[in-house]
Each structure stands twice: as C-alpha cells, then as structure tokens.
Amino acid sequence: MSTAILPDTLRAGPDPMLPRLATVRRRRRDTSQVWTLDIEDSVVSNEPFVPGQFNMLGVFGVGEVPISLSGDPAVQDQLVHTIRAVGPVSKALVRLKPGEVLGLRGPFGTGWPVSDAVGRDVIVIAGGLGLAPLRPALYRLLAQRERYRSIQLLYGTRSPDDILFRRELLAWRRRHDIAVEITVDHAPADWTGHVGVVTTLVSRSSFDPAQAIAFVCGPEIMMRFAIAALGQAGLADEAIYLSMERNMQCAVGVCGHCQFGPSLVCRDGPVYRHDRVRSFLGVKEL
C-alpha cells in the first residue's frame, strides 16, 4: 500500500459542514405530529434538486437533522420539507414561524431515477412519512404524464388520521391517469377504504412486470415486504428502488454514522436499486 500524498488531495474547497441561511415562508400542519415547512434558500440554485434527495435543516443552538425534500423540484424558489416532530431538533423546526431563520445544507444523496421510468408502468409504494420523499417524483411523473404507461400510488398509513397531503391525494384520485390506493392498519367505523398493510395492495394492482419500475419508501420492514410482494408479482430486483434510512449527521460521507453494509447512506443512498443492497437488507441490525 502506498502512503504517497497526492498534492491534489490537498485542494481547496468549500466547507461542507457550514450551513447557509434559509427563511421559513409558510408552515402548515399535516397530521398531529407532522408539519410541512416551505423555506426560502438564501442562495438560489439554478439546478433543481433530484426527487428523493434530502437537506440538512438546523435550528441554531439546538441541532441539525436530515429531512427529505417533499415539494415540486420545478418550483425553484421554495424548498418544501415535511417533518415529523419526534426529537428535539424536529420539534424545534416545526415551531419556527414564517420569517424565522434556519440553517440549511444540501441537497444531498441519490434520487429516484424518474427518467428510467419513461415508457414503463410506474408503481410508487409509500408507508407513512415515506410518501414525503416520493412526492417530488410524483410531481415529475405527472408533469409529463404522457411519457409513462400506468402510474399507481399505493399508500399505507397506521390510521386515516395519519394520511399526509390528503387534499392532494383526493385531487389525484379524481384524475384518470393515476391510480391512488390507500390502506390503513387500523380503521375507525366510518372508514370505507382498504384495511391492512400496504403490501396487500401490490397483489391487487395490475402492471406488466416486464415493463414496470417501482419506487418504495417507508419503514424498513414495510419495504422488505413490499419488495417481496413486487418480486412475487414478477418484478425484477433491478426494477425496484428503495430509500434507506440511517443516522445521517454530516451528509457528506465523513462522519460514519450512516453505515449500511459496504455503503454510506448519505453518499451512496438514500435511494438504492434493490439488487445492489439485497444481500444486506435482511441482515438484522446491520
């Protein structure tokens, strides 16, 4: 092994750990725990983010967390993030009011390969908050609807109260060019929709496995079952993409927290093609 130091590894570069400033423009509540923030970046990028990517959002004096972009990539002056307020930082984030300043780094990570879906049946499977990082992909698909064959969104939540983006889902449901199927684990008496885990929707949906592509995001266990159901329906592992979650702190591959087998989720993910992580997905506590 050589220890030689190459001069070009000592190159100058921007500090990837230094946040820039952003301002909250709008805040709305989606469910009892989930809020969506529209923020305005102080540095307007001329490159749209890729659906599936995430930003690091920080509250000064509290901390920083990775949050997926959940808005339309075509809208460049507003970055939309849908946040479940469960920890100290996410709770502080959703308490920010319009006009308040936060720290922003990103966007980071790999995204959904929307251009690979051209000419194919597209199956989008979301569990819970997993719909948030998939929504930018849905916007992209619907913006050029004619380029794809069927589009189906299969969405599962714990209860009807946990359904995100409800009004938008209802609007999509009225369209004839996207099928939206929603299921809940636990239903009150007045629920007339599907009951059961989201995987049951896969066997009911129809697509041509030879020409389909699937984007899956949700809790790891839900993704494993959804992928198994897609496999049973005949979809190849190479046609299935999933978004992994690990503890991401630096977002640039140098802090080590988001190890997932041989990869770093912030750098090599979060979106992976299933055949590339298949052998590590089932390993407990990896």
Binding site: T3, V62, G253, H257
Partner: protein
Amino acid sequence: MAEYITLAVDGLQALLDELKRREYRVLGPTIRDQAIVYDDIESLRDLPMGWTDEQSGGHYRLVARQDDAIFGYPVGPHSWKRFLHPPVLPLWQAESAGNSVRITTTQGPDQPFAFIGVRSCDLHAIAIQDRVLIGGQHVDPSYRDRRKGAFIVAVNCGEAGGTCFCASMNTGPKVEDGFDLALTEIVIDDQRLFLTEVGSPAGRDVLLQVPHRPATPDEIAAADGVTARTAASMGRVMRSDDVRELLLGNLDHPRWDEVAERCLTCGNCTMVCPTCFCTSVEDSSDLLSGKSGRTRHWASCFTLDFSYIHGGSVRGSARSRYRQWMTHKLASWVDQFGSSGCVGCGRCITWCPVGIDITEEVRAIREDRPAERTHHED
C-alpha cells in the same frame, strides 16, 4: 535512488531546534501517565530515552531498557489523528444580526505540525485518513489545513510489539514513502546513530541547517538489518488477502455472539485506532451572549447513540456493534475508501480492557465457516 545521510544524537537535537526555528509545532513521543504519548517536544530530554513499552492483549507496561535507545518502543495509545483530526473541534459560531444570523468559522492552527517518530503503521493510517477526509468528493477543511503543512520525521521500528501485525497488513515495519525524513536508530562501535533517508525537498532543505555526514554502506546495511529483524518478530499475524469476502460473507456467524459475550462496548478500540474517523456534532448556545455554535467530537460505533434514528438504535446489541466495527475496519472500508481501514498497529488489542484480539477473531471466523460447521455436525 534513495538518498541517505547519518545523524548523531546531537544531530537529532539540531533537527528539533531547526524545526522549531522554522516555527513548526514540534510533537513527538514522551512519557506521561505511565505511557508513551505524543505531545509537544522541547528537546531530546523529552523523548522516552531508555524506555520501552511491553504490550499484549489488554496489557501495557512501561519497562526500562538495558540501553539508551530513543525510539526503542512500539506505538503507545496515542496516534497522530489527535492532532490532524482533533477529539473536539469547534466548527462554527452563529450570532443574531438583526433579522438574520451571522455565522463565523473557526480558524485552523496557527503553526504547522512537525511530527517526530511516525511509525510506518501510522504513516499508512495518515494516508487512510487522507483518503477518507480529503480524498473524496467533499473535503474536510479543518483536516486539510492541519495536514497541509505537516513535516513528518518517520522512524523505522527497531522492534515489534507484542500486538503488532503491520507485516500482515503490508503497512510496515519499514516506511516507504509519505515522509520528509525517515530515521533508523542503529548502534555502530557503541555509537548511537540515526541513518536518515531523505523523502522530500522539504526534508533536504531542513538538513541544510543540521550537522550530518553521508551514510556509509555499513550503516545502510545495519539499518536494513533492523527492519528485517522487526518484520520477523511480529507479535501477531493476520491473513489479510481474503478478509473482506470472509467477513461480508459471514455476517450471521455465531462467533459474533461469542465475542459479544466478552465485549464491553466501551469504545476504547475506536479511540486508540489511528484510522477510526467517526464524529458527531453537538450544538450549544450561550444564553448570556446569545451566540450558538456547533462542535464536532470523536464518536464511537460502540455507543447506542451512534446509530440512533427516531424510534431506537439500528444496532441495539453488542454483537451488532462489534460486527459493525470489525467489518467496517477490515471489509466495507475497502468498498467505501479503496483500502482496508486496518494498519496492524495492534492498539485495539493492547487497549481493549478484556483483551479482544482482532487477529484472533478473524482467525476464528476463517477456521469455522458455515460449510465447515455443517460438515462437523454430520
């Protein structure tokens, strides 16, 4: 053709003086807290002359030598990462400025480092951290600033420690490149000398102000003998050619349960490892000044916190955390950064309070693969 000169003991002092004159912060081995550690060095008197350290699994003792060797010890608990990649590092501060926030970054060190006594394992460890922290798409500016001007005086090991296995990892004991000067301590006709290989223009330039003479063929041969003897007396051995495939193919091996019975998940191995680079950040605020800031500190994959995502830790068991550390170090590091993360320095063995031995764990998995287990049960 390598360029050799010879320094006497007072030549080594002159080298330290010259580095100081050039405003380097001179760091080297010294005795503190009953161990050989790296700290600021004023003169030869600060170096551990006449001392060595005796090492085995979970065991470290300073022992007086029978001679006046200056570098006659294997590596201690410190590595150079504590200077290049500090344990605690303020990243930035923020303060309110009207409706906005002003962010200021922390300045790097005001003096370049001169490291005295860098062993081959640690030179490889620095090269590994270079690949991780400044060799990828994103560059860690604090590491870059510390690393950039560092002057490296390497030392070829005169003896191997009880937990050393650099020969197995192809990382030593003889330094090959990546240094400014490389010393080999030799004794000829009762005279202590340092055969010195010049490794860079900066090294050659510093020597202009240091008394020295051309090396004799006898001195060069004596130095070669030193590293050959060290290579032949490694305390540990580990087959490393197939270790990546071995570990990634045995993620559910029963040995992980066995080692978890002994592992205290204290994280000592990650603190003494010269390549472990993981960090966490912490934000804090000062109510009086209204300022807030972010500080980075070393993190260990042995803590529950390390893999925490909402709802719990990904790696809750000791089994999964030991497996994470060892498979990352020896296997997935190759996928992520293009080389093994292990340099065979043996610190993780010496400083493990229960003496867990990474070479023994690899051997146990190699000697009991699933196919062979099935065979035994037949």
